[in-house]
């Protein structure tokens, strides 16, 4: 509602800031980027996280189980700043490990088409542990009796997964989806550290754009409007998820 540059007195702006939201191409781009990032993040986290959880849940020795669980979860404990710096080295175009093993000379973070997918992969590596642990916990709540009953009824492994495991753990999957989406939608650190939103805004997220507007261009009023958008989007999407959940989440 105001124009304010942090230092001088705020000045009333009415709805100017909100008008600017619609006309500012960079905002639209940031919103699209963030949506792409968040959707890709939810799909990869839940999909691959589920496979990992199933893998770990299968018969394994206790020791291996502990080891694998810790290994998956470990990256999540490392702070984003450290993760981003390490990956920047891995992805370095001249002497990075990624290019070395792929015998390529790809400039991962500077390419307009590859930069966002690359960040999605890095984000996946970093936060998969969290989704994995949630899903694994959900998997462990599935009562063994149900499986046994299904087996007696002649259901094969696929059927048991589809009609027993999934419905029983659907509340967990739902929770993981909501949490992953909210987390991904607020993504900030890897963009700032690894690509600075570049190349040409291809990886700029909403939160990052808010920061740039508020603390680099000193348009605090506009930044506030942007963060309102963030709030509203997350609220709507989460509300939508809750509404749709009635169709598939087993109560």
């Amino acid at each position: 509602m105001f124009h304010w540059d942090l230092l001088s007195t705020p000045e009333f702006a009415g709805l100017d800031n909100f008008k600017q939201l619609v006309t500012d191409g960079a905002t639209v781009r940031a919103v699209i980027n963030t949506f792409v990032f968040a959707l890709a993040s939810v799909v990869t986290h839940i999909g691959i996280g589920m496979l990992l959880a199933l893998g770990v849940h299968r018969t394994m020795t206790r020791g291996t189980k502990y080891f694998v669980r810790t290994a998956y979860f470990f990256p999540f404990l490392v702070s984003w700043a450290a993760v981003a710096l390490i990956w920047k080295y891995v992805l370095d175009p001249a002497f990075g490990l990624a290019n070395y093993y792929l015998s390529a000379t790809t400039n991962w973070l500077a390419s307009p088409t590859l930069a966002l997918p690359t960040l999605i992969v890095v984000d996946w590596w970093h936060t998969i542990g969290y989704t994995f642990i949630i899903l694994l916990a959900g998997l462990q709540t599935v009562p063994a009796q149900l499986h046994e009953a299904a087996r007696v009824d002649g259901a094969n492994a696929w059927w048991r997964f589809w009609s027993v495991t999934l419905p029983v753990m659907s509340p967990t999957i739902f929770f993981a989806t909501v949490i992953t989406f909210i987390g991904a939608f607020q993504i900030f650190d890897p963009m700032v550290i690894m690509t600075q939103g570049g190349p040409d805004g291809a990886t700029r997220s909403i939160v990052q754009y808010t920061y740039e507007k508020g603390f680099q261009s000193f348009e605090v009023g506009y930044a506030a409007a942007l963060s309102l958008v963030l709030f509203v989007v997350i609220m709507i999407v989460t509300g939508l998820q809750f509404r749709l959940s009635r169709r598939w989440v087993h109560q």
């Binding site: 540059d5 942090l6 230092l7 001088s8 920047k88 080295y89 370095d92 175009p93 001249a94 002497f95 990075g96 000379t105 400039n107 973070l109 500077a110 390419s111 307009p112 600075q196 939103g197 570049g198 190349p199 040409d200 805004g201 740039e212 603390f215 680099q216 261009s217 000193f218």
Partner: protein, 431 residues
Amino acid sequence: MDQSVLTRRRFLQATGGTALAASLAACGGGGSGGGASTKELSFVYMGTAEQQATWNKLFAKFTEQHPEIKLKAEGIPLSNWGDFFNKLSTRIAGGQVPDVIQIATEGQRLFASKGLLAPLDDYIAKDKATIDEYYGDMDPNLIEWDKKYASTDGKTYYLPGEFNTMCMWYSKDLFAKAGVPEPTARWTWDQFRSACEQIKAKTGAFGYAAGPEYFAAIMPWLLTNGTSSFSEDWSKPTYDDPKVIEAAEFNRKLVADKLSPPPGGTFDATTAAAQGKLAMFGGGRWPIISIRNLKATQKMGIVPWPTKVEQGSPVGWNGYPILKASKKKDDAWTFIKFLISKEGSSTFAQLGGTIVPARKSIANSQSFLEDAPKGTEYLYQALSYATPIPSPDKGAAIQKAIEDGWKQVLTGNAAPADALGKAQTTLEGLV
């Protein structure tokens, strides 16, 4: 079941209350911690962990001379001036006002125009002899620029302090190995390019580390091509000037022909040069710390930037203003006088600061030139042909737009005219 919910809720209330109280206490503490109400003189500067020790020694010297003034200095380690200003303005907006701060050219006009600083004119009149002696020992350009760019109302808010210009650092070993004669003070882009090519062909080392840094890797090329990022009074961006595009293309060709490592990576130019993997990189005084740590001062040389149209270099200098809200202005002035004194400035040069002293006598003395590469004196001489780094108010955003556009060219993602034209549009929206 009900019981457990109830207790959990009560538990949350209790912890919530404590957390709130704790955060309130933290706010109160923060507000008065750096504020003008404390007994100590509070000074905020931008410094990394590496430089902090140097500053501490300088402060110790000041305390020795003025035991009556307690100095509480605080370094904020940030990588660029834009971020430093954001941090400071956020702090000031939050009510933490230090007495003296260090501000580089990039933010001087911004801080002066927002009415946060106390004019120094009365103090200067009072200590006229000291100031005249200081100004007499300095390149007159610096005084003139300080008047022109660091104030909007004719009052003096800053005394110009140490500065940085840009020159080309080169590895003497690699030039010798490739049989290329070392560059001279007046050399051209063509000679530069052919040196890169010969060194690459004969030794396999990179010729130059092209990058997207506004001050260190963009401006020198623009200025030596007779152009700049903004008009002379910083009111209009000129980033789509054909000469800017030409400079960007020249850099892109260095990357495309593999004479420069690909940008956007983690290439460490100083280390690579000391190890003989890179022949040249641009720098002011600051690479000296790494080069000294690598024990390579004798292996390196410094020459002015190669030219296409004319000699050129960006320049940025430090100012030490007193905040209007400060309650210890006299002590603050004593501290500033110490910083610009012969003693303060030579201590700083000796300790290996990352900037060139403003005093000619110190910049030409042993304390500055010792244990430094051949040609270090060019950094001071560059003042005679340098241009203050164009820094309109929204410095950080402007720097980002300029660097993003240049990056697009260096990586070959976009044609120079398109990328810089787009950046130009962004810049026009920012001034």
